[in-house]
Symmetry: C2
Subunit: 413 residues, 2 copies
């Protein structure tokens, strides 16, 4: 890889050759992939990108840690739509708002970006099997992307994993091991099995390439905005990999001169589980928290990528905001009603946080903001049902319809 | 619209000026939109299309019944991926197989194509409100696409409608009227309300523009295949609108010389509800059937677009095939395992039918086939759970994992 220098530990600074099966530093720190931006500047221009017909995350190959001859992964991941949403911007009282809908990815979440990268690197490593432990979108995206590439997957889930997600995994042909125990115990068994059989490891944060897949969401946002950086990007935060990837993509573009300023990040967590935001707000190291939120994908009490995430929020001079489950579900309806975008609870937490900051007067009225929706609402229908109330219920009779409209205060124009 | 001549009744041949609020013929027949292909040939070339950066159904504007100044609808509908699936082709014993995944549309089904068209025409008609009756994907796609465009929706569903779909509708801000009665009674109330308040009508088959939206799936398939028509296109059939739209798109391309042969259609219905296929197979007029299938989106005993659908199957010298619910759910797993595509039961019925025809030796071994997946499996998680069985369940212990693998006959390579 001419564009990659090495992997570098974010804790101790030690560097490692960028082998496809790279994991963590011997000190236990997370690795960051370091690029040769001078080289990249010689091979990538905005004009070149504009002409490219590849409408997937692989359009940004020069900024990705893959060999030149590594094939694109089969499922079409990325290049999700960025919607300009005038009505929602007006409701929030800001100048411009864009919503990036990553729920339209092949397995319906942003995690497809990381899993596609895992599949590409597993192929480079000559691996035939990929494994991970996860309860949610990471697992289903890995199972789907690997199935399309003809790779086997072993996926470890805690027994509390929602049945729907298990069904998705099994439909994709994954071997699913439901562990009777906590997530920590699940992770431990997956680690032992990965060590024993030498499977390719897609565990979050452990594999430094996954963030590099996720960063493509930032590359797309900027290209879709014609390289005019917004003032803020709002995103939900769980284990920290996604916001770290987002920031990495922005910094890449700044380093090669494609954008001339860096947006401030808005880190939105659930009030019932916000260890990273709490660390920023108190200035203290992060401490584990309970996982008291219905937004399951960001219910992470022990974030695995805390170092990179905290660094990203601080470097960007970012804002933190913690929202209640009620605020999250209100944001789900708000995005649905004004944008036609149906996000899962964790997926709309960034928007919920943005709304709260706007109400608190913390966002300038002339600001341009991007809000990333990280997963599809169809992933968690049960909570949407609870939040959205009951429809009007009547027999088939016009008089009863008129009466019901009157009772509900519905005036037909 | 310079490219459109008129709407023409498929029953009596009477023609109507192509007003944006066109519905059915006075004889009760369904209208077909007739184009001026000579004109279209002067404004559309393959080269022009190839350069177009619009990756939505609106890239085919010259072949669509909208005014030149009608804006694209806000949600990004269409340009779904077409996957070449070597492994599945080998399993089925055919030369080439492509899977078109329309489940990645904004509200996760092919119906977004029709609803986007409804929104575009409603805007032309100056309407502020769109209404329809439906239990499923038509409703949620209308609600989502209309919400994004700032239009109100009134949606009538029978009280048996799945709660998840109602939740989707209400999240999009639709006014949902749950009718305590059959689908016929629901339709009747929607009709009275539409007549009374003059809402724009998105009821299937009634509005002749909807098929024109759906036909974009055919336009995309052919462009993605570089205008080399396959031998067959397999698709699931319910009320007949989708297969009719598919055929219309193919005929359009043939008429303007973009393709030099027309594929044969494979009309796949559920064995428990196959009135259209039965009509083809017996050579008799179609008769209503009960709706005995779990594939809810194609459980249509009284198809509303029978005329156009039967004509499409016959004109294409098409094949019919009826599959059991077991065959449908097996196809869901087959597509998941070999392609990483998770379709809803109705969405994979075309693939189930193709598999059956291959097993019966009715598809030539050197054939090239396209199978359209019409909706996302996340729309109906309950049936996927039933079909895919239970994962391995053990405590966190390596010895137990080894034992479980042995018991399940899993050999680690």
């Amino acid at each position: 890889m001419k564009n990659v220098k090495y992997g570098k530990c974010v804790k101790c600074g030690k560097t490692y050759a960028a082998a496809p099966d790279l994991t963590t530093c011997e000190c236990g720190g997370i690795l960051d992939i370091v690029y040769d931006y001078d080289y990249i500047k010689t091979v990538l221009t905005k004009e070149k990108l504009a002409k490219r017909q590849n409408n997937s995350m692989w359009r940004y190959r020069e900024l990705l840690p893959v060999e030149e001859d590594t094939p694109d992964t089969p499922l079409r991941v990325g290049w999700s739509p960025l919607y300009e949403t005038d009505r929602l911007a007006r409701e929030l009282g800001i100048a411009k708002l864009y919503v990036k809908d990553d729920g339209i990815n092949p397995t319906a979440s942003l995690k497809d970006r990381a899993s596609a990268m895992a599949v590409a690197k597993a192929r480079e490593a000559g691996a035939k099997v990929i494994a991970c432990s996860s309860t949610g979108n990471a697992a289903s995206s890995l199972a789907g992307n690997a199935a399309a590439a003809g790779l086997k997957t072993y996926i470890f889930v805690p027994s509390r994993a929602p049945k729907g997600k298990v069904a998705q995994l099994m439909t994709f042909g994954a071997t699913v091991i439901s562990v009777q125990g906590s997530y920590e115990e699940t992770f431990e068994l997956s680690k032992q099995a990965i060590d024993k059989w030498g499977w390719y490891n897609r565990n979050a944060a452990i594999n430094p390439y996954l963030s590099e897949g996720k960063k493509t969401v930032a590359l797309e946002i900027m290209e879709q905005l014609n390289w005019k950086a917004p003032d803020y990007v709002a995103i939900s935060v769980g284990d920290g990999c996604t916001i770290a990837g987002l920031w990495k993509g922005l910094k890449d573009l700044y380093a090669i001169g494609f954008i001339d300023k860096l947006p401030r990040l808005i880190s939105a967590q659930a009030a019932g589980c916000c260890p990273l935001n709490r660390a920023i707000e108190t200035g203290e190291p992060w401490h584990p928290m309970e996982e008291n939120t219905l937004a399951d994908s960001i219910a992470v009490g022990v974030p695995r990528n805390a170092d990179k995430a905290l660094m990203a929020i601080r470097e960007s001079n970012g804002l933190t905001v913690n929202v209640t489950d009620e605020e999250i579900m209100a944001a789900q309806k708000l995005l649905g009603r004004t944008c036609g975008v149906f996000g899962e609870p964790a997926g709309v937490t960034g928007a919920a946080g943005l709304k709260k900051l706007c109400e608190e007067g913390k966002i300038e009225k002339d600001a341009t903001v991007v809000s990333v929706v990280t997963g599809n609402g169809l992933k968690d229908v049960a909570n949407a049902i609870k939040a959205c109330g009951e429809p009007i219920s009547i027999p088939s009779d016009m008089n009863l319809l008129l009466k019901a409209f009157a009772e509900h205060g519905i005036v037909i124009e």
